[in-house]
Symmetry: C2
Subunit: 316 residues, 2 copies
Amino acid sequence: MRERELIESLEATFAAGRSAHVVRSIGDDAAVVRGRGYAVTSLDAMVDGIHFRSEQLSAEEIGHRALASAISDLAAMGADAGEAYLLLGLPRGTQPEQALGVARGAQELAERLDVSIVGGDITGASALTVSFTVVGWSEDPAQLIGRDGARPGDVVAVTGALGAAGAGLAVLDGRAAATGGHRDALVRSYARPEPRLAEGRALAAGGARAMIDLSDGLATDALHLAHSSGAMIELTLAALPLADGVAEVADALGLDPGAFAATAGEDYELCVCLAPEALDALDGVRLTRIGRVLEPPAGVSFTDASGQLSGYEHSF
Amino acid sequence: MRERELIESLEATFAAGRSAHVVRSIGDDAAVVRGRGYAVTSLDAMVDGIHFRSEQLSAEEIGHRALASAISDLAAMGADAGEAYLLLGLPRGTQPEQALGVARGAQELAERLDVSIVGGDITGASALTVSFTVVGWSEDPAQLIGRDGARPGDVVAVTGALGAAGAGLAVLDGRAAATGGHRDALVRSYARPEPRLAEGRALAAGGARAMIDLSDGLATDALHLAHSSGAMIELTLAALPLADGVAEVADALGLDPGAFAATAGEDYELCVCLAPEALDALDGVRLTRIGRVLEPPAGVSFTDASGQLSGYEHSF
C-alpha cells in the first residue's frame, strides 16, 4: 500500500458519522468547521515505549486510548467534544493494517461520542506516535471548569472507581495476576479508558468549582488542583473507591490498595471540588466523596481511616 | 532543569503578546479561546532526520520553520491565523536550552503574525519532533479557498519566487555552492520560510478559485489542485519566477533551473488559480502568471518556452 492509498483508506475510515458542522475536512489544506462560541482545545500525544507498549495493545486499543486521553481533558473542563485532528507517526516498516487499526479504534470511540476526526498529518517516526488535538465547544466560558476554583470548605469527589487501569497494566506487565473475571475488566480499563464527557458536563452544570481528569494519578492530579487553586487538598486514602480486583493486585505488589489507586494513574476518572450542598444535590453521576479543601498553603495531604495524617505532598 | 521548570519557561515564552480572545491557556486541562464563525484547522509535524536535520538548523529556526509550515496551510485557505498548539517531542538528553530555543523561534514568528501559542504537550521521543496544530478563523466559509475550484480558462499564478528553499538546502547539504550574497538569502529561505498569510487573504478576496501552498514542490502541489478540481493544469517551466541564486545552484546540480524550482519544494509560496480578469485586477500582491487551467483529464502538463509539451504528470 502506497502512502496515497493509506491516506485514502484513513479518509474513508474517518468519513463515517461526520457532523454537519464540518464544511471541509481531510483532502484540503485545512479543515473548516462551524464554531460555537468558545473553542476548548487540548493536545495529547502517546508514544510507543513511553506511554504504551505496542506489543501489549492492539492497534485499535492504541487508537482508542490516545483519543480517549485527549477527550478526557475536554471532559475535565465540562465541555462538549466536537472535532479531533490526528498526528500519526509511523516507524519504517509499519504495516498499513496497523495504521488503519489505530484509525479504526479511534473512529469507533469518536462516533460513539459524536466527535468528528477531520484532519491530521502522517509522518515517519522512530516509534509509533499517536497524537490527537481535540476541540470542544462552549457557548459560555463561565460554565467551563478550570483547575483554579477550589475553595476552602469544598468537598473533593471522584467519578467511577480508581486503580483499574494501573492494575490492568500490572497484569499486562506480568507484575501481578488477577483472578477470574477481574483480569479482563482491569486490562480493558487500561486499554480502552472511557472519557467521562457526560459526567464532566453534569458536574459543570451542577456547581463544580475545580476539576481535573486523572491521568497522572490522583496524588499528582490533586496537587495540580491544589497548586492552581492555592489551597490544601486533604484526601482520605481509605475513602477511595477501588475498582473490583484492584485490592488483590495491590496486595500482590505489596502495596496498600488506597496508595496504589492514588498513584497508579490513567484511570481518566474526574476529580472535582464543589460545595457540600452541590454534591448532595447532584443526581445521575456516580461520585464518591474522598476529601475536602482546606486553607493554604497549597498542597495535598493524606489521612488514614482514623483521620491521622499519613502523607503529604507539597506544592511544586 | 526539571520538566516542571521547562514547562514554566515555555509558558513564560508563549505568554507574550497573547490575544484578548484567549480566555484560558497553558496550565489548565485545555485552552479556551473565543471563536469567530468557522474554525480553519491544520496540523503539520516536523521530525528530525525526516523533515530537517538538527545539525543544519538552530533551535530557533526549527521552531520557526515548523510553525511557518503549519500556518502556510491557513494562508492557502485565505484564512486569518489565530492560535497554535505545540507538540514537542524531546529525545532523552535534550538540553532545555534547545527546547526553549524551538519555543522562542516559534514565538517570534507567532507574535509577528498575531498568532497566540496557547497549549500543547511535551513528550519523550526518539527524534526531536515539532508539530503544530494551527487554527484560523473566518466569518464566511464561502470566502475560504479550497483546492477544488479551478475551472478551465483560469490562469495559474504563484506568489514570490521559487526554488530558494531547495537551493538553500542544497547549499547546507554541501551539494552546491552559492556565490556572494545569495548564499545567506537562500539558506534563510530554507530555514525561516515566511507563510504568505496576507497574500492568501488578498487572493481570497480578489477572486481566487483554488489555492495551495507549495510545500512538496510546484509539480506535486499543482497535481493536488488538478486532482481536486478535476482539471488539467498546464505550466510553463520557463515562466517560473526564480529566486536570485537559484539558477546558479541548479546549474551546479546539473538541473534545468525551471525543473529544479518546480520540484525542490518547501518554498511555502502560494499557487493560485483564478480568472484572467481577476488576476489583472489584483493589486499589491507579487504574482507571476505561470500557466493555465484546461479541460480534464486531471493532471499537470509542462511546456517549454516555445509551447512544446515537455513533461506530463498524470493524476493519481
